[in-house]
Amino acid sequence: MPTIDSISEDIFQETMNRAVQDVFRTMLSSSANLVHGSGAASSDGAPWKHPVDLSGAQIVGTVGFIGDISGLIYLYFSADFSKFVASQMLGMSLPEVEASGDEVVNDAIGEITNMTVGGFKNQLCDQGFPCRLTIPSILRGSNFSIEPVSGATRRTYTFEVQGHHLVTDLLMKNSD
């Protein structure tokens, strides 16, 4: 059986890149350009450093995948970017999205995260790592911290979409 260690950094990056591009092209008719990939970093027990500046409000979508490989992916959106995503997905104007409230934006971010993580893990499934998705959850705020999972490896990727930055934060449990 293949192990997580057999997946190269290039494959991780390409898999994430494909997933993000596919989702933004299909659902928002927008291109997403990968501008930076961090490579793997292991947890040393210290709190994770956030991949984005949390001085402004952030909406963070999370979906996990469990199976022969397990992990979590966080998608970081600024408040403006999250409204843009919701308006594009729902075919609403920005004022309409604002009038609809945070729940509508949260739900749209949850779904876009679900699709992105689905796209990522489906490619891994086809490479011999069967796993299934968890239900999305949303973090909203400007001052929160994410505790590291013991024995996890982290990779962050930054994309540029219509002048906004999207950060995907991939945390994967190391193979036993």
Binding site: A86, M89, L90, E111, G118, G119, D126, L133
Partner: protein, 381 residues
């Protein structure tokens, strides 16, 4: 009876997208946020198709699908999975439980409509009679013809209309055009090589977007066998070459169910105006006759009491035109509309030659006719 589509997804976003995708079609969308709600809705509403997500709280889509398929009342309802859970093995495992189709998110709304359209007959919502497109509204026509001269002839002949005519020389270009646009009417040359017209016809009809789009076959007058074949296949109409452009225009307007009354009838301030065109053919006379009574009634209903009957552009009179004018004047009298005729010298002279029309008098311009009617109404009784 309206078709029902049940969307079972914990994401409100997806349910909104589904609703949006089917908005142009005559279907009812029912929603459920998890498998338990989905089963209850399926039992209550008996939908024609179920769109089912997998990862949901309370009861996931796989469990709902399994329960659905073991219920004799519900197992016949076609299910399309609409989920971010892909991967070959996953899809195969779920397909075995019994699904009609599988769409992996992210998805395009068009794909969703296309797949549902393979199961139920999706009919576009037609506007009510008052919202019917008029002859003056822009429409898009696609002409698939390998002879550029014919395309040019159609474009030239119909350039006075607000219709945008897009000509392509081959079926490949037509398919490409149709993937991005939905024309209001399509014309295909039946003489395209290798019976390509018939293949294209079938492709157009198979797509939900163009299932009901009128399709004309263009064919040389003498090729009766091909014309017959096209009629049997279901082409809306056959247009023969050499082209008779006015006839083509009338056929196009009829096929698109356009309201052509605005060609002949208008409200100008306090006047109801009926105007016959230079070429007042039998087709035109029939159209005008059909619209006459409702249009005059509509004008009277909105408070108009003066009418102008303008035949100035008509080159020569014939019995049908005279009958129409009699009919028009009679209709005006019945509804107490004061009217005046506008004509040219030829028409006026021709009228003197008939016993029944000898007393008709014509104004030489619409303005003169309007002034006369205004004066007549203003004058004390």
């Amino acid at each position: 009876m309206r078709y029902k589509v049940l969307t079972v997804d914990d994401s409100k976003t997806v349910r909104i997208i589904v609703r949006k995708a089917f908005k142009p079609y005559d279907v009812e969308i029912i929603e459920a946020a998890n498998g338990v709600e989905g089963l209850a809705m399926a039992g209550k509403e008996q939908p024609d198709v179920i769109l089912l997500d997998i990862t949901m709280p309370v009861m996931d889509g796989v469990e709902m699908l399994t329960k659905l398929k073991s219920d004799p009342e519900l197992k016949g309802i076609p299910v399309i999975m609409l989920t971010a859970e892909g991967g070959r093995d996953n899809v195969l495992k779920i397909a075995k439980i019994g699904v009609r189709d599988y769409i992996v998110k992210p998805f395009k709304e068009e794909l969703l409509v296309e797949k549902v359209g393979r199961i139920i007959d999706l009919k576009p919502i037609t506007d009510g009679p008052t919202k019917t497109k008029s002859i003056l509204d822009p429409c898009s026509l696609l002409v698939v013809e390998d002879k550029p001269a014919i395309i040019q002839q159609i474009q030239e002949g119909l350039k006075h209309t607000p219709w945008k005519i897009h000509g392509v020389g081959a079926t490949g270009e037509a398919i490409d055009f149709l993937s991005k646009n939905t024309p209001d009417l399509i014309m295909i040359s039946l003489s395209l090589p290798e019976e390509a017209a018939f293949t294209l016809f079938r492709l157009i009809r198979a797509s939900v977007k163009t299932k009901y789009t009128p399709i004309f076959g263009l064919c040389v007058k003498t090729e009766t066998n091909t014309q017959q074949m096209a009629q049997q296949v279901g082409f809306t109409s056959i247009v023969t070459k050499p082209l008779d452009v006015p006839d083509l225009e009338a056929k196009v307007a009829k096929a698109m169910n356009l309201d052509t009354s605005r060609r002949y009838f208008a409200i100008e301030g306090e006047f109801f105006v009926m105007k016959l065109p230079e070429s007042t053919t039998t087709v035109v006379i029939n159209e005008v006759s059909n619209y006459l009574k409702p249009k005059v009634s509509e004008a009277v209903d909105s408070g108009i009491c003066k009418a102008i009957i303008d035949v100035k552009e008509v080159k020569s009179l014939n019995m049908n035109i005279i009958k129409l004018l009699f009919h028009t004047m009679q209709t005006c009298r019945e509804l107490a509309l004061q009217f005046a005729l506008v004509g040219n010298e030829t028409i006026s002279a021709e009228c003197k030659g008939f016993e029944d029309t000898r007393n008709w008098s014509f104004f030489s311009s619409v303005d003169d006719a309007k002034a006369s009617l205004t004066k007549a109404v203003a004058a004390p009784a």
